[in-house]
Symmetry: C2
Subunit: 333 residues, 2 copies
């Protein structure tokens, strides 16, 4: 059976198959569900952001984090990316029968610590248990609620030719770390970038306000997928400078060994920013003051034509960066 | 290994083991998580209710509903039980590789219909896919946001001797239907009571306001577990009249055959109300006007002593109704 008849792993990739599932199955019924990571709503007297994310990462413990801290960071960051200040989280657990209690405690403790560091409160929860072989250790859903400052208009549709693109730090750390950890690949020096971005994002917006045109965290589908989303929303072209894109040497080497393109690998603590060209150096210098984004770089520019995403390689050529298809790395979040 | 070293199915029962898990593992870290089904919060200028629930029901389709409609009803009802008007829902799916797309479409369509009937909007979503044998067809998490009317003070701690207890309709339909459906028991005439209660609850509160002391939907752990929670919170005794408790004949017969006590079986469209004795007939007559609660009955009374939950049997005796321990029916929601 084909991709339209049965659920395949690639339906969870964040790439073309995910998009197709959304369009064919969910959007016809859930017309209010936005393509963004968080919905912006009004409830009574308050404008707020509301987001949901389930975490099924395998393994549940990995260098740089675990499923608990990841669940907090992922949801906090989804709120931050629409400009909201994260305030409250929910935490719902689906546990597999036989999970050692010590593992659960370690995950819960890690969630609590991550929430405290991010300055958010976990205010409601739920626990279900499924029989052995009907789940996988622990799955966590976190929903987030955040406050939206008045007058904020972040949207990829604001992007225009002449804008510049920044990334807040090295890409692909999280995706490659999870893969190497799951498959015991023996790659050295890898560590997830999983972290909460709300403090640096709040500072950025407070400083530059509506000059920031769009932000997004490159999780499933990686940097390439975020830039494709921006390119399609704004009907523009985005040209990346390969040599400007920050990638740790061990990540680059690991990707070369495995034949993976780091442009498609997930980060869980980085964000992409688009702003006008005349302030991009100020934005970069501002970001570099914060530990979360001290390795921020300007990585590309926005043009009117040709549309799409392109990479100017270190060898002087230019190649298109196609949209992600298939599932390169399942269960990285 | 014992109940404190490893996760067992009974940790998901809603009974003593669940309570122990909450106290030993979650509450030390998540101090803000209430024992109620929904948290009541203030966000900016608005008081609101926020709740999360994951649904892992097996089978995913059953007489009277499916995992999609159940996920909407369960979350809407959790908001209603704290007196909130449900407004927004999230919908997060964990799909098992190999799930037929038609099954997913049927679930999504059912969710959308249930949300429309309840008058709530599904505003954000997420989809993850896990490999075969690492999940079970589909799990759904729904979070809910609701508006809290000013001045409402629902709480089991309001309950005092002389109060009366009502239930909005026949108990145990959902729990027994799921069990019979999963195990192909061939019991006739069973149908889940899964339904949204927000419309009738809003009308009830609008009519009786703060005279309604406490409400709760008897889901996991059934009627007995809700009454134990009330008894402990208010430090009172609750005496039930066995002959007044509405139970359909086929449910009663099924429970007798299987040796199950309907007092511990889940409903997903019923609620328990506690109010002063002098208005209880008015409350019952008011509830009977609504299709969701047309079979409402007065089932018991609150006394100062002895504390605990007791059943006056049809034979004239009185027996204690102990708290639930163990897991009678896993995965009913």
């Amino acid at each position: 059976m084909g991709i339209d008849e049965i659920i395949l792993l690639e339906h969870g990739s964040g790439g073309k198959a995910s998009q197709r599932l959304l369009e064919k199955v969910f959007l016809p019924y859930f017309r209010e569900v936005p393509l963004l990571d968080a919905a912006t709503l009004s409830l009574g007297k308050q404008n707020l952001a509301f987001t949901t994310d389930s975490f099924v990462v395998d393994p549940i413990f990995f260098p740089g984090g675990d499923i608990g801290s990841l669940a907090v960071h992922g949801t906090v960051n989804d709120l931050s990316m629409v400009g909201a200040k994260p305030v409250y989280l929910s935490a719902a657990f689906i546990l597999e029968e036989g999970l050692p209690m010590e593992d659960l405690k370690r995950v819960v403790e890690s969630m609590a610590l991550a929430a405290e560091k991010a300055g958010v409160k976990i205010v409601c929860g739920d626990t279900k248990v499924v029989p052995r072989g009907k789940g996988d250790k622990v799955f966590i859903n976190t929903c987030g609620l955040g406050l939206i400052p008045e007058g904020l208009t972040l949207s990829p549709q604001n992007i225009t030719p002449g804008d510049k693109v920044l990334v807040s730090g090295p890409i692909a750390d999280h995706g490659l770390t999870i893969l190497a950890s799951r498959e015991n690949l023996g790659l050295e020096g890898l560590k997830s970038d999983s972290q909460a971005l709300n403090h640096v994002v709040e500072a950025l917006i407070s400083r530059f306000s509506t000059q920031i045109k769009a932000m997004r965290d490159p999780t499933r589908g990686g940097l390439a997928s975020v830039l494709h989303e921006f390119s399609e929303a704004a009907k523009v072209g985005i040209f990346l400078e390969e040599e400007s894109i920050p990638i740790r040497p061990q990540v680059k080497a690991g990707c070369e060994i495995l034949g993976l393109d780091p442009l498609y690998l997930a980060c869980e603590g980085r964000f992409v920013v688009v702003c006008p060209g005349d302030i991009v150096s100020d934005v970069r210098d501002f970001l570099k003051q914060f530990p979360e984004s001290e390795e921020a770089e300007i990585i590309g520019e926005v043009v009117a034509e040709p549309k799409g995403v392109f990479l100017k390689t270190v060898f002087g050529g230019t190649r298109p960066v196609p949209p992600l298809s298939g599932e390169p790395l399942p269960r990285i979040c």
